[in-house]
């Protein structure tokens, strides 16, 4: 950093530059979040609305009720399965894409990453159309004679996981490709020259080096899957509630905002906890190697 620029000598200029951002973020991020946190401590009844009592009753209710536990468990299950599926499909695909040559690589990159630009609602609608009992999958299965009557696909966890994987897959591919890009292209040759087979090279040299990318991608995919709303709402229906759709219901159907706020806060805490925790763990592990 040099000090030739005059305005750098004025000590308040960085604060002045940052002021709009600070105002916006304090006024429209921290304040609403704080207000929601306070709301989560309040009580509610259908006839009187939100009451000015402050206690942990909502949290106690959530933790003592097996119903909420089931929904939290389902959310975690869906998020984990989605993450695993995204790894199993996304990581190899990223590797395959990296090995492609022009012009195929550019073309398939568009195919793999382009869906990011398409609205989640549209993409999920596609899966709803595929999964429906008159959808393409069932029609194909029946035409092939594999099943006699339509298989129930809509409103199942399986369908939610598949659609979520489709929605979040690009993040995994991007993340893995970033690490693969940094990979020394001669490293595979080095392994081969030492007598390792292609498979051994993949297993012992390439995959271990993809791990940081897979981990970073998993954190993103997990966090987004755990808090996804549109896809579970459309594909999961009412019976297959996850935290996000439950929060939506509490706010926009049941009217119990304090309870909804408490659920949202817990989701927030869980997502931040898992991401920050995983990041810290990963960093501690990789710092040894990469710093």
């Amino acid at each position: 950093m040099s000090d030739t620029l005059d305005f750098r000598r004025i000590p308040w200029s960085p604060f002045l530059l940052a002021l709009p951002a600070v105002v916006v973020f304090f006024g429209f991020l921290l304040a609403p979040l704080l207000s929601t946190a306070i709301l989560s401590l309040q009580a509610f009844s259908l006839y009187t609305g939100i009451q000015n009592v402050y206690n942990l009753a909502n949290y106690i209710e959530i933790f003592s009720d097996n119903y909420f536990f089931e929904i939290f468990a389902r959310t975690a299950r869906i998020a984990v399965l989605t993450t695993v599926l995204a790894i199993v499909v996304g990581a190899p695909e990223a590797y395959i894409l990296m090995r492609m040559r022009a012009p195929w690589r550019g073309l398939f990159l568009l195919v793999a990453l382009g869906p990011l630009l398409i609205s989640v609602v549209s993409r999920t609608l596609g899966w709803a159309l595929l999964f429906g009992s008159n959808g393409l999958i069932n029609e194909t299965l029946m035409a092939l004679g594999l099943v006699e009557s339509p298989v129930a696909l809509m409103y199942t966890e399986f369908a939610v996981v598949i659609a979520l994987t489709h929605v979040l897959m690009p993040f995994m591919i991007i993340s893995v490709m970033v690490t693969l890009q940094r990979l020394n292209p001669q490293i595979e040759n080095a392994s081969l020259s030492l007598g390792a087979s292609g498979f051994t090279t993949l297993r012992r040299v390439v995959i271990p080096q993809m791990v940081p990318g897979i981990l970073a991608g998993s954190i993103i995919v997990f966090a987004m899957a755990a808090s996804a709303f549109a896809t579970p709402q459309i594909i999961g229906g009412r019976r297959l509630k996850v935290i996000a759709t439950l929060v939506y219901d509490e706010f926009l159907y049941s009217l119990n905002w304090p309870l909804g706020a408490a659920l949202a806060m817990l989701l927030f805490a869980a997502v931040i906890g898992v991401t920050v925790g995983c990041n810290a763990l990963a960093e501690r592990y990789f710092a040894r190697i990469y710093r």
């Binding site: 080095a190 020259s193 007598g195």
Partner: protein, 357 residues
């Protein structure tokens, strides 16, 4: 001895490259290259970037498939052998160390994939690390090592598998000048200790000369000259070799016989020379360090002088063009810029390339 690579045709070849060719579309990168490598020798492929030296090494290593031609190692066909089965050790320009493994794990890798027993493996890894002077660094990860240390790990990793040939792809180009010299000495020592047949690819003629038993000078995919370092330096067979290996002065001259004595005529000056030279106009090359200032000889004017510590480099303007002269620094400063001078030389230090202009 007119062709210095005549020697390569004698004795039993260890590695044979026969009419090796690599084309990418219309571009020929390596053009029917034929070369024999002897067991235990240190051979350098020297040339400017794009001359095909790295591609040649990659073909030997198995990472580039030849368009045509043969590679044989002790009568074993290498072209049809996958790289992992060739048993060659390779040190890459970027070292290509496995970043997620420690130095010792990197070195052990080649032994592990060969299923060498644990005890033996540990012992050989320790010995290899000791050989490269890193006995105490086995637990370090590559990112925490200096360039020189990484280089040594890469070397140990390639050597520990006891390769039939060690391939070095510009291994020193990422090191700074002083470290590079240190590693050159080290590399030579290690090669002599292990006796591993080594092929080095480099664009640095000093490195090639310092390390090699023989140098293969390459240009545009073809071999320009093969020989011992001093042979190639002292007796370049082409303009290109003369100019690529150190500074050289190229001058038009002619050869004649006067009183049964061969002499070479440069302008109005003549110098006794090698009797083998054919008569007629020739193009000659002479190294700057073989020229000296004298009281008589080719006249010129000092155009510039550069102090280089152990020596002075003078640029002299003459009727034959600018001529470079190196003068050892013996305490007396050379003539000032603008002063007139004369250049003398020994006719036997001259090399000629066919007929000149």
């Amino acid at each position: 001895m007119t062709r210095s690579n005549a020697a390569t045709n004698t004795g039993h070849a260890y590695l044979e490259l026969a009419s090796l060719t690599k084309r990418y579309g219309q571009i020929t990168v390596v053009d029917s290259l034929t070369l024999d490598v002897r067991k235990g020798e240190f051979l350098s492929l020297l040339g400017p970037s794009g001359c095909g030296k790295t591609t040649t090494l990659q073909m030997i290593g198995g990472f580039v498939e030849p368009t045509s031609g043969n590679i044989r190692l002790q009568d074993r066909d290498l072209v049809r052998t996958p790289p992992s089965k060739r048993g060659l050790g390779m040190v890459f320009q970027s070292y290509a160390l496995f970043p997620h493994m420690t130095a010792a794990q990197n070195v052990a890798y080649g032994l592990e994939v060969r299923r060498v027993g644990r005890a033996e493996c540990e012992e050989r890894v320790a010995r290899a690390l000791d050989l490269v002077g890193l006995a105490k660094f086995g637990d370090r990860y590559p990112r925490r090592m200096s360039g020189g240390q990484q280089q040594r790990v890469a070397l140990a990793r390639a050597l520990v598998i006891e390769p039939s040939i060690l391939l070095l792809d510009e291994p020193l180009s990422n090191l700074d000048a002083s470290l590079r010299e240190e590693m050159q000495v080290e590399l030579r020592r290690i090669q002599q200790v292990t006796g591993t047949t080594t092929i080095l690819v480099t664009h640095d003629q000093n490195e090639a000369m310092a390390l090699s038993d023989r140098i293969v000078v390459m240009r545009a995919g073809q071999v320009e000259q093969i020989g011992r370092p001093e042979q190639v330096y002292e007796h370049p067979q082409t303009d290109f070799v003369a100019q690529f290996l150190g500074k050289t002065n190229l001058v038009s001259a002619s050869v004649r016989t006067v009183n049964g004595v061969k002499e070479i005529v440069i302008g109005d000056q003549s110098f006794a020379c090698d009797t083998a030279l054919p008569e007629g106009p020739v193009r000659i090359a002479i190294r700057p360090e073989k020229m000296r200032l004298a009281s008589s000889g080719i006249p010129g004017i000092v155009k510039n002088r550069v102090f280089q510590g152990t020596l002075w480099l003078l640029e002299i303007t003459s009727e034959h063009g600018t001529i470079l002269v190196q003068q050892p620094n013996v305490g007396t400063p050379p003539p000032r810029i603008g002063s007139a001078c004369h250049l003398d030389l020994d006719g036997r230090d001259i090399h000629t390339f066919g007929t000149g202009v």
